[in-house]
Symmetry: C3
Subunit: 475 residues, 3 copies
Amino acid sequence: MTQQWHLPEERFFHPNPTQRRFARELYQSVAGLPIISPHGHVDPSLFADAQATFGTPVELLIIPDHYIFRMCYSQGIPLGALGVPKGAGEQDQRKIWQTFADHFYLFRGTPTGIWLAYMFKIVFGIEEKLTGATAQHIYDQMVEKLASPEFRPRALFERFNIEVLCTTDFATDALNDHQAIRSSGWGGDIRPTFRPDDVVHLLRPGWRQHVDKLSELTGGDVHSYPSLIRALEERRAFFKSLGAVATDSDGTTLATGELSPRQAEQIFQRALSGQATAEDAARFFGHMLMESARMSIEDGLVMQVHFGSYRNHNQMLFDACGPDMGCDIPIQAEFTCNLRPLLNKYGNDPRLTFIAFTLDESTYSRELAPLAGHYPAMKLGPPWWFHDSLNGMQRYFHNVIETAGLYNTVGFNDDTRSFPSIPARHDVWRRASANWIAGLVLRGIVDMDDAREMMVDMAYRLVKRAYKFDDQPGG
Amino acid sequence: MTQQWHLPEERFFHPNPTQRRFARELYQSVAGLPIISPHGHVDPSLFADAQATFGTPVELLIIPDHYIFRMCYSQGIPLGALGVPKGAGEQDQRKIWQTFADHFYLFRGTPTGIWLAYMFKIVFGIEEKLTGATAQHIYDQMVEKLASPEFRPRALFERFNIEVLCTTDFATDALNDHQAIRSSGWGGDIRPTFRPDDVVHLLRPGWRQHVDKLSELTGGDVHSYPSLIRALEERRAFFKSLGAVATDSDGTTLATGELSPRQAEQIFQRALSGQATAEDAARFFGHMLMESARMSIEDGLVMQVHFGSYRNHNQMLFDACGPDMGCDIPIQAEFTCNLRPLLNKYGNDPRLTFIAFTLDESTYSRELAPLAGHYPAMKLGPPWWFHDSLNGMQRYFHNVIETAGLYNTVGFNDDTRSFPSIPARHDVWRRASANWIAGLVLRGIVDMDDAREMMVDMAYRLVKRAYKFDDQPGG
Amino acid sequence: MTQQWHLPEERFFHPNPTQRRFARELYQSVAGLPIISPHGHVDPSLFADAQATFGTPVELLIIPDHYIFRMCYSQGIPLGALGVPKGAGEQDQRKIWQTFADHFYLFRGTPTGIWLAYMFKIVFGIEEKLTGATAQHIYDQMVEKLASPEFRPRALFERFNIEVLCTTDFATDALNDHQAIRSSGWGGDIRPTFRPDDVVHLLRPGWRQHVDKLSELTGGDVHSYPSLIRALEERRAFFKSLGAVATDSDGTTLATGELSPRQAEQIFQRALSGQATAEDAARFFGHMLMESARMSIEDGLVMQVHFGSYRNHNQMLFDACGPDMGCDIPIQAEFTCNLRPLLNKYGNDPRLTFIAFTLDESTYSRELAPLAGHYPAMKLGPPWWFHDSLNGMQRYFHNVIETAGLYNTVGFNDDTRSFPSIPARHDVWRRASANWIAGLVLRGIVDMDDAREMMVDMAYRLVKRAYKFDDQPGG
């Protein structure tokens, strides 16, 4: 007999019957609330055209998802056998799908396994579990669904009950897709997020071309540090005019600190002439985080920083395939000293909302929760990337909330590139939150009145308040 | 209907009925044992005068408690609105109380919330939960209680069944309050603890004045390193004559290491002439930890060190309000290399009891448990500060005991500035311990005979033995 | 009434009845599978002679086991009172046994306590719990058992159902015991593991003598870096001829990186002339890890590295008694940057199996799981040393599997010096695994079909595949 997907109604809840009952009650109180997705990497072009589709099942689920192909790669499956990167290697979609299905057991006990089960069963209505034996039959069903109007991106956006979705866009992006979405008359609320990485990380490949692009977009000439600042401010205003509520930075180096205008100019000039050192780049980035906070106080954009990923760790793979190949690896983080310049200058200002994300969980209870539990400007982002999982969430609740308090956190970010995984990810968060709160009730730590409020806060209100969606009626 | 405090009889126990039954049995076996409080920051002046009172509810609960005002501050409430620091900002006690009550939801799921619920309901007999709506009525009741003789500090000390309470006192403190307590004829056993931070941290603000004060108190002239050592030894003897059983140091820098007498003298002279560097200060402190161990072997005082807090992280707040404003933030700690000089010289000597505290939980299983599980002199202090919480205790039990063994730990320290929170904090420890031990029984790791012994050890015997209270009959 | 050992049938399982039922079912499915022990420190001489015995109970359980004597030592018991090191101090075996029994309570809640309970009750059939009162009676029973043929090493090997046992042997070991085992005609499958630490750590005491020994064994003259490499390759081939499937290194320093042949030669010459610096030694070791990977790709031996132990932390004890005295202490580890050279050069090659072990659990979710979840060559070893415990395993499952996936782990290593503890240790792993998988089922994360496969993988198949036992029929 063919196996079925295993998605019991009370999944992810503690086995104790009383806790399970409380958790279910709490979960059900928010299961129908709209999804707010303030940070992620969905491609806005999916929504720019009403007729856009997701392509083949392989194009939808495998090629863009480094969670999936890194795991297969780690077990010796060549990326080419999965058609990765797009256009390379195997081109027979059914063969790729079969390889994926043959190795689906690798995802046992992983968040990817959980998200995929939800997608297949709940999003696509497929009852059979994916195995080597069921692969082709499931492929057939997926193809059929993906061809239907109900599975176009805009239709799923509406079905998923997404209240607002923020994408992540480079400072040099002209935001044509976002403009097209707005001018199309479609009602979906999709907003860009301002990510200046390409022009503030002086040693990133292509930095000079990105600066030139920035010059072009701002109708000026970014030839000096002051002109860079002016261009960034102009771009922020442009993003904001298209609904942006936040910025985001990739903090590979963690030290914040202010340069004098002269120092900033000297480093910028060295960069323009191709002479910037690694230390220059780190100091400049640390200074630009300070500037980012200043600008956020002025223009009201929420400041997000994702700290501590060593990008493109596997040089061979980066040389062959470029970034986002599943080989970004976390590094140790230190925040108490590194964030001090930023927090000392701007952290006492309640106009700033600075949301920090980390990949180093040892900093949760040691540094980030105490900092967020003190500085008015600082909030702590939800578990990120590898830690956006049932256990990761449990560790987060366990290590953060007692010290930071729930109200210095900001609800959930799905942070996904895979649009159809959005409801699965929010469902995991809502269930994990419900289960955690139920445990607090059962152990006499909070009462049911508080629990009910906390549940809605975690599923909806915290994120809405942190990203100021209430304050952005026009968008 | 007004909400009530939620303090179920079996709070903090695991929901499994069998574990809960074992936990309750274990807890009840120690619930009536006296409290031993070997380390904390209660103001001894509260007990020096039989008529002393706690002042207003705001003076009792809010102004001295950085756990409370840091959380409010983190959510944008100005400290002045809470009357912090004492004498500044809002002076209307009822208005402050209202602000606090309006934001009491911030403490959901935090240890502060748990302690306050216990204080209100069990210490003060107030049934209603604190909210904006109940704030003024509760204030009235608190005022009435605080005016009654039953709520004077000495009366609560007796009601709390405190066998011994140790305060923390600077080396330069004349201990007048402690002398007054002893000469008053009152039977409460309150003892000082010797904390030389002010004279061994060469760069602390006011260091020179503290050295002068030390000179004055020891009738000598602390003008050289040897005279500093003599003065410290003299003050230790004086503290001991008033019942002290321990010393304490604040280890912001972690490296221990011996200086030659000449090096120590040179650094001390640079400090006297205002020329000491940060490196001087760190090396001198590391050397003074070695000296502290030597003196402890000679005079028998237990040596406590609290490692790894970055004091006064928020410069603006420190400049405006001074220390202890809720902005001390933990830093990463390293003990294996840093403690090696100390442990290599004195760690094999069973006459020394060296109790280490950490704010970096990643060192529990990696460094501190293995060290405490080997060196005869070293013991591991209980979860400290941010980690003195239900989850913090659980992580401590989980990470420490398997490697260090229970018998290289020292029971509980409440470490509080807030005297009326003492029974709440010990109650949490006793319940968390009972629950942990019950879990061991239920999973077949220890039997009930062992469990019963462990329970009494954790609630009473370990702390009594570690701090040598049995050996200090006179005090 | 005398107390009995407490080893309930469902020990180590979660108290929830449903989880317990699933866990028991899963555990029972593997309880009878043979033991594969791919890494440990059992003395092969025990098996070289059919008549070998374990000696006295003290010689069996106390003298060789630093887990036991470190804990006693930490509580002020002089090592001499335990007859440690062998031949020193107390020689009255019954007195030593009494001291141990009097302090057996120190092991409450520790893995040592669990292993000993299993050994006494299940291996030796002793029902009474060890206490001061039962000490001598238990001693009598132990002596009687140890004198019987059923308790000779080979008999226990067979009774324990050990399919294969790997020892750890220095590169300079002539493997006489292994040769004797093979030529004896006995059917036990015991294999050496190649550990080159003594000749690749340039500053280890005795390094020069070990190099001379290596020269002698390889019939050449190890006078240069190329001759060292040749000698190591020759020894690896010799180990392999006696069944070795793996190498092992002790990675005290963590940085990998390639030297040029000229640099390697220069450092090696400095070492030969006694002039190597600590930096030389660290760079040379980091280079030899690269060479080890290259050789593993060529000869197929699995490459194990145990990272992050500060050896012989207690200088006094090391000077008096030598290594392995219970005072190796973990240090912080960093893998993302340190392993990058190794992984960039060899990590994409599926012919290499590189198994990393750590004592720094903070690297599980932050570094090791992401690395193992990407690089085809890298696998993550099971919880090591202090973390080879019920809680340590739970933390490992919790922190590793979601990101690395189960299939980038390698089952269990008992890593023991104490041969009779082997079944106890595997029993703990199998029960902990069963309990963890049962929890996944109960929370709807995996279904029972997957659970059954995972159980067999964790108990048997993963280790068999990782160490290529299937490929080594001859051995």
